[in-house]
Structure formats: structure tokens, C-alpha cells
């Protein structure tokens, strides 16, 4: 019970559970599209990952001697699991979701002090851990074929049994062009037949469970902006960080560098820009800092995609920027009213002079 008697005596309607709930709602359309496209295995994976996160949360909170009910109902563990599931290959085996979920909640969140204290985004840290530890399972990209999906029972065998049949998986666009490029095949050869902006916009491509429907993710992001849950600074800066260098590079050497639209519509750019980089806890808090943070995420993503060893760099980019966020905040504090940037008071004489001019 809050017994603080000092002002203000009224508070706004928004609560942490409320914020998390709105984010979950915004994720629904893209998630449903993922289910439709990748079938029952993706539903099972999604469920298993979220359950693993919630169970780990309850366990950690119990171990720390806190009230478990409150921690679960704030929705943060569900959101972590959901976001992690969105970034996993849709037919990944169940233990990928469990290992990732336990790592995300226990290691990345609670070892750092629980809600609000984690340095790294739990979903991204878990994804990076999984990618490094289980590279085969984490790169099984499925061709989206809604017509030929297994039934609910067959799907159980895929998620909890043998895994995805090899015949159905193939490389993602980013993986494909990276592989071709190492063989010396340029984009004018490797791209045709693998990329179409309209198909990619609608989500008809290989990719993680929830990252493929660029337009639905965008719609969810706009919903969050309208609801005031997230600001525009981080998503816009993120997209600019990818688009601007991609546009310049592809204009200079179109055979070597993928164009800006292809970058936006492939991999997890939309999911990350609106739902992952905007994570309150691990992003910058100052207005200027949020621009820098978003720009850094975008730029590093493009750099890793273009020159890195991995075809996709978003998780790495976000974790790198997570690590710099406290520093960014430190150096981008807003100017205090009545003071100069360096913290000294404005000089009345100067102010009056400025007015006279």
C-alpha cells in the first residue's frame, strides 16, 4: 500500500502491466501472420518459449524472495518470451525455445537485478547465445508454404521430435547473398528470383517466426507510437541507420551492396526497430540519446550485414548499443531550464541583450 502523503495526490492511468499489454497487442497481427505462414510448429514453439520464460520468472522471483504473482502479471516475462519466439526459426525444436527462455530470464534479467536492471535486451542476448551455441538449429529457414503445412499432430513431431525436414529449409535472402558473395557471385546474379519487394513486404519469405510481415510489424509499431508507448526517435533513427548507408552504397556499387528497400524488408529490421530496440530498460533515456542509440543500432546492423561474418547483425547491433546506452545517457542529458549546456546558470544580462537584438 502506498502511504506516501506528499504531492502529487493524483497519478496517471498508465501502469507497467498496461504498457506491456499494449506491446503484446501490437505484436498480435504479425504473430498471427507468422502462425498462418509457418503452421503449427511455430505455434508450439511460441507457446513453449513463453512458458519457459514465465516459469523461469516465477522461479527466479521465488528464489529472490519476492511476490511471484505481481512479477508475472506485469507481463514482462510474457513479452520477453514472445519477442524471443518471434526471432527464432519457426520450426526450431522445443528445447531451443526452452534454453533461450531460461537464459533470457534467468541470466540476462534476474542475474542483473530483475525488472529494470538488465543491461542487455533479454530476447536478443538469448538469440545471440543460441545462434553461437546451436548454429545449425538457428539457421533452419523454412520456405513459407501455407498450403503444404503439417497438421497439428504431425507438427508435434516436428517441434518435439525430429525437427524440420531438410528438404523444406533453405537459406534466407541475407544468407543466400552472403554465401554467393563469398563465391564471387555479384548481386545482379544472386538476387533475381530470391527477392521481390512486394512479396517481402507481405511477408512471403524465409525468416524468423515473427519477423517476416514487415507491413504488419509497421502497423503494430504505429499503434504503439499513437498510444504513446514508444517514441518515434529510436525506430526512425534505426531505420535511417539502415536505409541511408544502404542507399548510398547501393547507388555507388549496385552489384556489391543490397538496396535500402531490400534491407528494410529482410531480416528482422522492422521487428527490431519498433519492438526490440525500443525496449525501455536497455535503450537510451534522453531525447538526443535515443536518436544516437537508434542510429547506432541501424548503422551497426548494416555494417554487420554488409561486412560481417554473419548474414544478419541485428541482435549483435542491439546488444552493442545496449552496452553503450548508459554512457550515451551520461553525455546527452537535456539542457536544464535556465542553465547552459555545461550546467552554469544563464546570465541575465546576456538574456536581456538577446531579447533586445
Amino acid at each position: 500500500m502506498n502511504t506516501v502523503l506528499s504531492s502529487p495526490h493524483a497519478i496517471g492511468a498508465r501502469s507497467v502491466g498496461n504498457v506491456m499489454g499494449l506491446v503484446l497487442i501490437a505484436l498480435v497481427p504479425a504473430t498471427l501472420a507468422g502462425f498462418w505462414r509457418f503452421g503449427w510448429p511455430s505455434v508450439y514453439l511460441w507457446l513453449v518459449t513463453i512458458l519457459a520464460c514465465v516459469a523461469t520468472e516465477v522461479l527466479c522471483v521465488r528464489l529472490r524472495g519476492l511476490s511471484a504473482g505481481k512479477a508475472v502479471f506485469d507481463g514482462s516475462a510474457v513479452l520477453t518470451g514472445w519477442l524471443l519466439a518471434m526471432s527464432l526459426p519457426p520450426w526450431a525444436p522445443w528445447w531451443i525455445g526452452v534454453v533461450g527462455g531460461v537464459f533470457a530470464v534467468a541470466i540476462t534479467k534476474h542475474l542483473f537485478g530483475g525488472l529494470g536492471q538488465n543491461l542487455f535486451n533479454p530476447a536478443m542476448a538469448a538469440r545471440v547465445m543460441l545462434l553461437i551455441s546451436f548454429p545449425v538449429e538457428m539457421t533452419q529457414w523454412l520456405l513459407p508454404t501455407p498450403d503444404a503445412l503439417p497438421g497439428a499432430l504431425d507438427a508435434l513431431a516436428i517441434t518435439f521430435g525430429a525437427g524440420a525436414p531438410d528438404a523444406m529449409s533453405s537459406a534466407s535472402l541475407l544468407g543466400h547473398i552472403k554465401a554467393e558473395a563469398t563465391k564471387g557471385v555479384l548481386l545482379d546474379q544472386s538476387l533475381p528470383g530470391h527477392y521481390s519487394a512486394t512479396a517481402f513486404g507481405m511477408g512471403e519469405r524465409q525468416g524468423s517466426l515473427g519477423e517476416t510481415s514487415a507491413l504488419l510489424l509497421l502497423a503494430g509499431g504505429i499503434f504503439l507510437v499513437i498510444k504513446g508507448v514508444i517514441g518515434l526517435r529510436i525506430p526512425l533513427a534505426f531505420l535511417a541507420g539502415v536505409v541511408v548507408p544502404a542507399a548510398i552504397a547501393s547507388a555507388v556499387a549496385p552489384d556489391h551492396y543490397l538496396g535500402p528497400v531490400a534491407h528494410l524488408l529482410s531480416g528482422g529490421v522492422m521487428l527490431a526497430a519498433f519492438f526490440i530496440a525500443t525496449d525501455y530498460v536497455t535503450s537510451a533515456s534522453t531525447p538526443l540519446g535515443q536518436w544516437i542509440f537508434g542510429l547506432g543500432c541501424g548503422l551497426l546492423t548494416w555494417i554487420i550485414r554488409t561486412w560481417g561474418a554473419y548474414p544478419e547483425g541485428i541482435a549483435f547491433a542491439i546488444m552493442l548499443m545496449n552496452a553503450t546506452a548508459p554512457l550515451i545517457d551520461q553525455y546527452t542529458r537535456p539542457r536544464i531550464f535556465g542553465r547552459k549546456r555545461d550546467g552554469r546558470s544563464l546570465n541575465p544580462a546576456e538574456t536581456v541583450k538577446a531579447r533586445a537584438r
Partner: protein, 518 residues
């Protein structure tokens, strides 16, 4: 210039407004009180007049128990340059001077004059004057004598701000009709019903400070007040009524100045340093009455509202009336009152005792139900959502300040702006984790103040001790010097005596010799 209009601002100011949208839009809840005419509250049987109703030194009583006083008669005088006298709000007999509960969240008591009301409401003969025949200094003197203090709640003695103009004319007077606190509508009703008084008061203040223009800032959720003021100001070209956005805390002095003029009050300075002085619209009306009719400040308009008040409305109340009389007049309460608040919900004080009187700065009395208060909202961990950073009108980082205070590092929180915090409550309001941020800041400010006090005390003791040892040293030295001087004196005397004796002897011997030669 009658109609509300916009002030031309530089492109930089406009861009700044776009980029930094500070503040919050709390649920106004101004109705139904704002829609109902001001009613006059009948005289209660006893008035309680605290000696401390203003910033500065408490007033000094000049009456004794048993004295009969008339309405408007001074019963306590100003004690010093920053203080304000107190006048009898009606006729009656002084019952005594006692310690009574005063409006303070701790339930502290303070000295107050108790006045038994006789119901005749006889007034002291007073005379007004034409302010345009008075010197600015005389206007300030009369405002001071009328006991007028800032009626928006700050309760700073108004005459002190009027006298600022005598050193150097202040070009701009801003009247604060923002009333950005939810529930409150006392200024709204005043502007609607007594616009001419407000405008006249503003022009009197302008004369006192030697100013050129009056800007009256009114939030755009009060269109009737804006129209009434604009009509009353129609024949006065120097008075401009400006609609400002309804956004809390627009009525904060620094924010209103910035919005209306584009200027920023320096952090270490005052509004007068940039040629602006701000008064509340209620203060302007009080100054009008003091100058025109010689009437001291003995009553004010109070909004009685909140979900638990049966018929919320605005009342004109004599200073010193117990809160319970206001509640009774408004039909009492319905349902359980979770919290009583004097002032607005964002910056008001919670009170526990309805015997507490209305004082000069009380603009509202709210009976809040549980769902209207922050009660029952458990504070959770900070999720660094930065809502507080975006909402802070000063540009502070409340989340970091609170984290530093929690870890006991008060000095570091000062380094990132604790002392610039105006305690407006915006950050606590928007916090989704319901962290009582302002509570942290007030605690830290109080703690630092007491540390400073303790340090001053320590310094004073240290200085005294040093002075004492210096004095002892000096005395010892002086003693030694005196002893040495005495010794030297003795030796000199001895030597002198010896020399004298030798001279005598020599003289004797010489005489003897002479004798022997003759």
C-alpha cells in the same frame, strides 16, 4: 487589443516548443465547480488566523484577548521587510492567541489569533484612492499595508515584488491565469465574474513597477474567462489576453514566462532579472480592492471539489474559516474520503484535520476518493521508460536523480539538477511504476538543507573554538608581555636607582674632593 492573440516568437523558440513537449494533460475535473457561480460562505462563529500565512517572518500580534476589532482592522503587523500584516476578516472579539493546527501535512501546530465573530460584520472606515494620483512607492506601501500575498499559493508578499520596479523599471507584467491544477476553478470563476477588477488590478501593478505591457496568460480550457478578460481589457491597449495551451504545469512561473515571451529565467536569477514580474489574477483583484477601496486582504475564493464532495463549487470565504464550514456548506461528503487536500492534487498539501483554517494562499479544498488518488498503487521498479524525462518541464532526468537518492548519493543528484526541480509532480504523475519521485526529491532537498544547517552550525562552533584559542593565545601573550614589561620596568627602575645612587655618590665624592682642595 481585446481579443486573445499570439505573441510573435523567434523561430528558435517555436522549434524548441515542437521538440520539447514537456508537461502532462491530467484529467481536468474542473466541472461542475467551474460552471457554478461563486457563493458567499456565511460567517462561522470563530475564525482562526495563523500568524504565518506567507513566505517570510511570521506577523507580530498587536491585539490581546478581549479586544474588540472591526472588519479590516490590523490585528498583527508585518515583522520585517519580507512579511505581511494580518487583518480582522470581520468584527468580533479576540478570544486569544493560541497554538492551533495549521495547514501542514505533518499536522504541526502554529500560533494563531482566535477571533470570536459577533455577526455584525462592522467595518473599519477605510478610504480608497485614485491609483493614478499615487506614486509607485505609495502603491507598493498600500499593498504591503493591506497584507496582500501571492494568492496562487506561493504567498510571497506582493509588495516586495512591486517595489522591485523602483530600482529599475520592469517592462513586462504577466498575470497568471493558467490555473493548470486539476479541479481548481477559483481563478476561472474570478476572471469570469470579476474581469474588470482583475484588469484594473493589473494596470495598478503595471504603474507600480513602471512597466509597459501586461500579458495575461489563461489556459485555453477557460474560454469564458478569456472572453470576459478580453472584453474588460478592450479599451486598454497595453493589456493583452493570451490563450496558452492547457498543459500542466503551464501555470508555473518560469514555464508561463517562457511560453509568453520566449525568455528563460536564469537558474540562479529571478524573473525581474529578465524584465518580467508575474502575479496571480487573484492577487491583481486583491490589489484592485486594496487601492480603490482601502480594503485589506481578508477573504478569498476557494474551490471546494473532489469526488467525495456532494455539490462541488467555488466559495468566497473569510480568511480563518475552518475547512469543515466549507465542506458543510457544500452538502458534506458522499462516500469515503481517501484524502483531504488543500490546493490542487498535483502540488497541494494533504491535511488530516478539518479544523485547519483557510489561509491567504488556499485556493482549493479537495475531498478525494480512493480512485482519484495515488493510494493503493504500489511502487514498482523503474523500467527506465523515460516518461519522466519527456514530461519534466525543467529538462531534468528524474529517473536518474531518484536512483542516486535511493543509493544515498545526494550530492550526485544535486550535480544533475536536484536543486532545479520545482516539485511540480509531473514525473510522479506519468510514472507507470508509480514511483513517488517528487517524494524522493523533497526528502533529498530537506536532508541537504538540514545537512547544510548542521554544517553551518559546525562551522560556527569551529569558528568560536578557533576564536577562543586565538583569544587565549593572545591573552597569554599579553600576560607574558605585560610581565616582561613589568620586569623591564623594574630593571629600568633598578638601573635608574643605581645610576642615581652612582651620580649621588659621584657628586658627594666631587664635593668631598672640592672640600679637600679648598
Amino acid at each position: 487589443m481585446g481579443s486573445p492573440d499570439q505573441i510573435p516568437l523567434s523561430a528558435a523558440s517555436r522549434l524548441g516548443r515542437l521538440l520539447r513537449r514537456w508537461g502532462v494533460h491530467p484529467d481536468g475535473r474542473k466541472h461542475p465547480a467551474a460552471g457554478t457561480e461563486i457563493a458567499v460562505l456565511p460567517l462561522p462563529p470563530r475564525l482562526t488566523l495563523p500568524l504565518m500565512q506567507h513566505i517570510g517572518a511570521p506577523a507580530r500580534p498587536i491585539v490581546a484577548a478581549g479586544d474588540r476589532v472591526l472588519r479590516g482592522q490590523m490585528i498583527a503587523e508585518a515583522a520585517g521587510p519580507i512579511s505581511a500584516p494580518i487583518h480582522a476578516p470581520t468584527s468580533g472579539t479576540i478570544a486569544g492567541i493560541a497554538e492551533v493546527p495549521v495547514p501542514h501535512p505533518s499536522g504541526l501546530t502554529g500560533p494563531a489569533i482566535l477571533l470570536d465573530v459577533d455577526g455584525k460584520d462592522e467595518a473599519l472606515e477605510t478610504e480608497g484612492a485614485d491609483p493614478w494620483t499615487l506614486e509607485p512607492a505609495e502603491i507598493a506601501r498600500r499593498v504591503s499595508a493591506a497584507g496582500i500575498v501571492g494568492m496562487g499559493g506561493a504567498t510571497f508578499p506582493s509588495a516586495v515584488k512591486l517595489a522591485l520596479g523602483q530600482k529599475k523599471p520592469i517592462p513586462t507584467l504577466i498575470l497568471n491565469g493558467g490555473e493548470c491544477e486539476p479541479y481548481l476553478s477559483c481563478d476561472d470563476r474570478l476572471m469570469r465574474e470579476r474581469a474588470a477588477e482583475v484588469i484594473d488590478g493589473a494596470r495598478i501593478i503595471l504603474r507600480a513597477i513602471g512597466g509597459e505591457r501586461v500579458l495575461i496568460g489563461v489556459e485555453n480550457n477557460k474560454p469564458e474567462a478569456i472572453d470576459a478578460l478580453a472584453a474588460a481589457a478592450a479599451s486598454h491597449a497595453e493589456v493583452q489576453v493570451v490563450a496558452v495551451p492547457s498543459r500542466y504545469p503551464m501555470g508555473s512561473e518560469k514555464q508561463l514566462i517562457n511560453w509568453l515571451t520566449g525568455q528563460e529565467v536564469p537558474a540562479d536569477g529571478r524573473a525581474a532579472d529578465i524584465g518580467v514580474v508575474v502575479h496571480n489574477v487573484g492577487t491583481a483583484a486583491a490589489i484592485h480592492r486594496a487601492l480603490r477601496f482601502g480594503e485589506p486582504l481578508t477573504r478569498r475564493i476557494v474551490t471546494v471539489s473532489g469526488g467525495a464532495i456532494r455539490t462541488p463549487r467555488n466559495l468566497e470565504v473569510r480568511i480563518g474559516t475552518p475547512l469543515s464550514a466549507l465542506v458543510d456548506f457544500c452538502g458534506g461528503t458522499t462516500g469515503e474520503v481517501a484524502r483531504w487536500v488543500m490546493g490542487g492534487p498535483m502540488m497541494g498539501l494533504s491535511v488530516s484535520n478539518l479544523a485547519v483554517p483557510i489561509i491567504k494562499g488556499s485556493g482549493g479544498l479537495l475531498a478525494l476518493r480512493e480512485e482519484e488518488t495515488a493510494d493503493g498503487a504500489d511502487a514498482g521498479p523503474c523500467i527506465r521508460c523515460a516518461s519522466c524525462v519527456g514530461a519534466c518541464p525543467i529538462g531534468l532526468m528524474p529517473l536518474d536523480m531518484a536512483a542516486l537518492i535511493r543509493s544515498g548519493d545526494l550530492k550526485a543528484s544535486v550535480d544533475i539538477g536536484l536543486k532545479d526541480c520545482i516539485a511540480c509532480g509531473t514525473c510522479s504523475y506519468v510514472c507507470p511504476s508509480h514511483i513517488p519521485l517528487v517524494h524522493y526529491f523533497n526528502y533529498a532537498k530537506g536532508e541537504l538543507a538540514s545537512q547544510d544547517k548542521g554544517k553551518l552550525r559546525q562551522d560556527a562552533i569551529k569558528q568560536l573554538a578557533e576564536e577562543r584559542s586565538a583569544r587565549m593565545e593572545r591573552e597569554a601573550r599579553e600576560k607574558a608581555e605585560a610581565a616582561a614589561a613589568r620586569k623591564a620596568e623594574r630593571e629600568r627602575a633598578k638601573a635608574e636607582a643605581a645610576a642615581k645612587a652612582a651620580a649621588k655618590k659621584a657628586a658627594q665624592e666631587a664635593a668631598k674632593q672640592e672640600e679637600s682642595t679648598t
